[in-house]
């Protein structure tokens, strides 16, 4: 059986800077994962729908607009409503230190700020997915 880690990299919200998202998407591809990239300006509904159809193991959200405290809770809620509470969600971009605990409380696995090495993201993702309990 040929299992591949499938990750959705999404850019919810209105900012138009997708370089970070693309760098992470590429790094995860180079780590052997199948990365679904959806492009800019995704609504939470679009992110959750893509995560469902693609049956991903993880969702990476890149947010630089400052709207993370509005977008992330909504996405977590939609994933749960779709039966995807086991999907690992991580957030990257510009996230103020004081918001990190609140995001982690929502069930976000990790928040990666600027300067995080992409290999760290790939390694942690592998640990979450491959170490996760069978359903």
């Amino acid at each position: 059986m040929d299992r591949k880690i499938r990750v959705l990299i999404a850019k919810p919200g209105l900012d138009g800077h997708d370089r970070g998202a693309k760098v992470v998407a590429r790094a995860l591809r180079d780590a052997g994962m199948e990365v679904i990239y959806t492009g800019l300006r995704q609504t939470p509904e679009m992110v959750a729908e893509a995560a469902l159809q693609e049956d991903v193991d993880a969702v990476g959200l890149s947010i630089l607009s400052g709207a993370h405290m509005a977008l992330v809770p909504r996405i977590m809620e939609l994933l749960r409503a779709n039966g995807q509470e086991n999907v690992h969600v991580f957030v990257g971009g510009i996230i103020p230190e004081e918001d990190v605990p609140a995001l982690l409380n929502l069930g976000v696995r990790a928040v990666y700020g600027p300067g995080t090495s992409t290999s760290k993201v790939a390694e942690e993702l592998e640990t979450w997915v491959l170490g996760k309990q069978p359903e």
Binding site: M33, A50, E54, G83, Q84
Partner: protein
């Protein structure tokens, strides 16, 4: 979870999970496919192929939107899209970006989009694409659009999978020598010249028409006038259609051509013949894989490496080694 039953009753999460199981060759996926197989054979399978950058994803996006609009003659159709992108031969990973051009389709429960990595298979599709399409067919999607890896000249597997194959070209990508190469153009049931607002579109169309006229001499009457692609005498002649997918221009004509092609397939008996060919091809592919896997398992430890050593020392030829290796087959 009984995947087959859940998928038949419209459970999208179960469908998505089953597609993963099928893609991974999981035994549970095979079990569900056994139960679903009687429900397959209903959908119109439409392949979309062509060189990278010709606008396949944008065209698929517009076609899906068009199928979702009810028309005077027909209700809106349920549409599934399978978009295949290449896996990296080095890391085995893949960047699947076709959804970027399909954002118009989100929020519609009558559409299901699935991205697939080719996972080392050449030919423009993944090994499991046929199986994934079968599951979507059994799930009740009436139109299944399969977008191949950006294809060159040999990625022709799509013609075996699809009822109707669209080959997408764009102006300025190739000359008439490219167009007369065998392979990708020969598999076209419909030729689409996308980006039709770009310079050079007329010459691209002319090249394609010349190519078709060589393949179908009946396209010209005795006086040398073009009789067009409506010639019913000798079967199907691929129409050449101009689109600008990003502006939704020419899409309706493509849709009509697809419907015409379906009617042609059904009235000519070609539909059944293609179905038979497809199932035969799939069975052969699976048979080949399984026979190889079983034979490999029956080989004693080290026999294969020993054989390679003998070859390298030029002590035996490949064919004599082959005879020896095949003895092991239980």
């Amino acid at each position: 979870m009984d995947y087959a039953e859940a998928v038949r009753s419209g459970n999208r999460l179960a469908l998505a999970r089953l597609l993963t199981l099928v893609e991974n060759g999981d035994p549970e996926g095979r079990k569900a496919m056994d139960a679903l197989f009687p429900y397959t054979g209903q959908a119109h399978l439409i392949g979309v192929t062509g060189s990278p950058g010709t606008g396949k994803s944008s065209l698929v996006n517009q076609l899906a939107l068009a199928y979702r609009r009810p028309t005077a003659g027909a209700a809106a159709r349920r549409v599934a899209i399978v978009a295949v992108d290449p896996s990296s031969p080095f890391s085995g990973g893949a960047l699947l970006g076709d959804r970027v051009r399909m954002r118009d389709l989100s929020g519609d429960p009558g559409i299901f989009i699935r991205s697939m990595a080719s996972r080392g298979t050449v030919g423009g599709l993944a090994r499991a694409t046929a199986a994934v399409v079968q599951v979507l067919d059994a799930a009740g999607y009436e139109i299944i659009l399969v977008e191949t890896v950006g294809a060159g000249q040999s990625e022709v597997d799509i013609a075996r999978l699809a009822h109707t194959t669209l080959v997408v070209e764009a102006p300025g990508l190739g000359d008439d020598i490219q167009a007369s190469k065998a392979g990708i153009l020969e598999i076209a049931d419909i030729l689409v010249v996308n980006k039709g607002d770009r310079p050079g579109v007329e010459s691209t169309e002319r090249f394609l028409r010349n190519m078709l006229e060589i393949a179908h001499p009946e396209m010209q009457d005795e006086a040398g006038n073009e009789t067009g692609s409506g010639n019913k005498k000798t079967g199907w002649i691929p129409p050449i259609l101009r689109t600008v997918a990003t502006r939704n221009s020419g899409i309706q004509q493509v849709l009509e051509a697809i419907e015409n092609h379906k009617a042609y397939l059904q009235s000519s008996g070609e539909w059944q013949r293609r179905d038979r060919d497809r199932l035969l091809f799939e069975l052969n592919a699976i048979l080949r894989d399984q026979l190889y896997a079983r034979w490999r398992q029956s080989l004693p430890e080290g026999a294969y490496n020993h054989a390679i050593d003998l070859l390298m020392e030029r002590k035996q030829s490949i064919y004599s080694i082959l005879e020896a290796l095949l003895q092991y087959h239980a």
